[in-house]
Symmetry: C3
Subunit: 348 residues, 3 copies
């Protein structure tokens, strides 16, 4: 799947400076496992000792780590970013093979570009628009009136319900579901009445969405994912959520209805965010945190209960149930202490 | 997708009283975005100021909020419920188009009603029964001996393993899996032996199940979801769980094996419920709570650790690990204080 | 689906001793619901009273629980394990029906054993190898160069992306996704650059993987699941994770990138494990625990915040935010107390 490129070409292209031989690189690899045809990188100075022992053909390093390095290397401002960009060249997305697989079911009222590739068993509904460069892989479902921009990649088994609008170059991984109904129910005294969900899901350009992630359509307005957002696996995004541009959500995050998350936020794995909140641009939420109120200032927020050996935890958890009472007792002690000290002072 | 209806007709039908012109409504919308063809509603008095500025054709309000309102409005006991019921009329489920898509694979020993609609690439196993009014959308799998009641809607990519029994009017969203094996393993000294899972999954009438939710078959007895329950996305329901009628589970909830949840409970998002518990009718569990013991009394239960700025959390989390010890120190202080006060009393 | 076997045959085969009539058993059932054709078992002595009232044809018990038991029973060292093994005989995996369903799309460059069964709408990519005894059920996707060992069972709707290597006798439940891209992004100043994920997913022999579980391919090296591991539903396993042999993960667990979990661990439901950690062999993590540091010693670890009635929780949660301060106040009280006691001592 990979191709071969001269490191000089990659260095020039991505603003790095080559020192030493112009190696032909065919792959990327970690410092430990790299062979002579591989580009590797040092992002964390902690692993600097590996620079000498690695079998890598060439290594991307920061200037600060390059002093005295004899082997071929490239000096980059951000070696991790250089590695990302180089790897994109070495492992290009496979070419589009335009055409519709004979087993696909395309509604006659759908508009599929001749420059798009539609895989086996794909189903495309009436009014759907699939632009040039799109690849819709096997067993995916593109509902009625869905719009896919240019160069969208739907991996196998993706489901896009009616009316989803997907920007250019979006990548959606297997099993993801976009546009299913939001969880809207009104209590009718003895049962729930379903509230029809009539909003859409709008996905900005360059968004990536992970496997088995679910993004519900809006109840009245739309659910919106901003340009360049990165959304990992098994994430639940409820109706009317808005996520700002370039925000990243790690795996297993849940976001309840109508919450607005700003741009360039980072939400750690398994964080759970309540509904109707606002989280400002640039907020960082640590993994496992339950966010139950809005965040107005950028910065890091946390709060998972720390793990302990079970026997210790049992003791502490017992106290946790009586924390209000403990604080009350400390207040009482402070009062008594003040009285005693006052009395002692009187005696002096 | 929506139809147009006179508001007078909706008001009569759902027990509300029209004040002002008999507007023709074609859609529902929020107060902010509604136009003259839209029905909107005021559920939260906090937004009462929007009543005057909204462009909505007609607004559903409580009597208490209707005083002095000049524009067309309907007075309803519960405007949110009125909106739900009206929206169901304006956005009816699409009509069933009876018939089997030529790409579907129906076992000759299946019993599919002629009044059911079977979409592309659907697979139906031997002995399955699909009743009138059912819609089984693309790429869904209906295993052997599965029974679907009347008017069931399986969205695309739903998987029902062998023997599931689904009540009337049930709606299952994309990617949901019902009837996969429960997690049953016996330790055999140096490896796990699988315990065959021979129970079924029984889903009551009018249940709705969200995207990528998984409901395992029972180990020996059945896993049972009561009538009218509402189950959101990405929820795990383990083997032999029973969920009572009209109970609602929000997204990302997990319920471990053999737990019985009563009727009309509300389980908040990402709550995790341990196995072999009993939760009584009418319990409310707040989002993010870990339920590790049975709940015997109706009411609200919570317990997620509260979020803080990371720097504050670090300080508190450090103390959390020593809470048992802190309580011990407070007890010691109280003893010392009692001695000192006794001594001081002696002196007086 | 079940077959009938003499209990004497099962007892002999699995090292148990029959007492009483040689019953023909056709099923397994709980003590409460078993009929005369069922094998039941008593694993928990708490339910010993059911031994007399159960209608089961034969019951597996420990020697300690068998004293005085008149009805047919088998004495086994571990009745639960005996039941598991017996149930495997009574409910064998259905036979393989070799052949490829006409609706399946098999790449001409794939290598599918004639002794494998390929179901409807299955897609198999170029270079894929499917060995004898495999069953690939409906709507599953087997990507290019995937390798399935002998007797693998892919339930409906499983997605295996390119290059996954699956051991013998592996079972994968519906909707699971293996080999999708890991969550790798490098920040480029104003947007994320995707890091191509070029590792694979390697699954050992006898592993079982639950519904809608996602296992990402490695970034550079491989993601590895050891032999005999048991992985429940809706679990996220990130890139470069390694899981040791016979480790069991309960539902809704998340494991962040590059974490290594040892052999024979048990990870409770909804536990969340941060990235780049090491968890030693034999660790037990309780359900709902957030593991944010490595575990070096076997044993049980926990830490979910305990549930309370909401009104109590509100009081305690308020104190939690000030725990560092509370500890500080207790230290101050201890100092004051020491001074007072010293002064009191001086007086004596």
């Amino acid at each position: 799947m990979s191709t071969s490129i001269r490191i000089s070409e990659l260095a020039t292209r991505f603003g790095a400076v080559l020192h030493g031989d112009d190696v032909l690189v065919a792959r990327v690899a970690s410092l430990e496992s790299a062979g002579p045809d591989a580009l590797s990188f040092l992002a964390n100075p902690r692993f600097k000792s590996l620079l000498e022992t690695s079998q890598a053909g060439v290594i991307a390093v920061r200037a600060a780590d390059a002093a005295g390095l004899q082997r071929p290397h490239v000096v980059a401002k951000d070696p991790y970013l250089f590695y990302a960009l180089a790897a994109q060249q070495l492992y290009p997305r496979r070419q589009v093979n335009p055409g519709v697989h004979p087993s696909a079911c395309i509604d006659p009222a759908a508009n599929v570009s001749e420059a798009a590739e539609i895989g086996p068993n794909v189903v495309v509904g009436a009014g759907a628009v699939i632009d040039a460069g799109c690849v819709v892989m096997a067993n995916s479902y593109v509902g009625a009136h869905v719009e896919l921009g240019r160069d969208v990649l739907l991996h196998p088994g993706v489901t896009l319900m009616d009316g989803c609008v997907i920007g250019d170059r979006v990548v959606i991984h297997p099993g993801a579901v976009l546009g299913s109904d939001g969880f809207g129910n009104a209590w009718a005294g003895d049962h729930w009445e379903k509230i029809p969900q009539v909003g859409r899901v709008l996905i900005g350009d360059d968004v990536e969405i992970g496997s088995c992630t679910t993004i519900d359509r809006g109840a009245l307005e739309d659910t919106i994912i901003g340009q360049g957002a990165r959304i990992d696996n098994l994430i639940q995004i409820a109706h009317n959520v808005e996520i700002g541009a370039h925000t990243a959500l790690a795996g297993c995050v849940g976001i309840a209805g109508s919450t607005k998350i700003g741009a360039r936020c980072q939400i750690g794995g398994a964080a759970m965010i309540s509904g109707h909140l606002e989280i400002c641009d640039g907020a960082v939420v640590l993994g496992g945190t339950l966010v139950a109120k809005s965040i107005r200032e950028p910065g890091a927020y946390g709060g998972p209960y720390p793990m302990q050996a079970h026997s210790d935890w049992v003791k502490n958890a017992a106290q946790l149930r009586h924390l209000g009472e403990l604080a009350q007792r400390v207040r009482q002690l402070e009062k008594n202490m003040a009285s005693l000290k006052a009395a002692a002072g009187d005696e002096e």
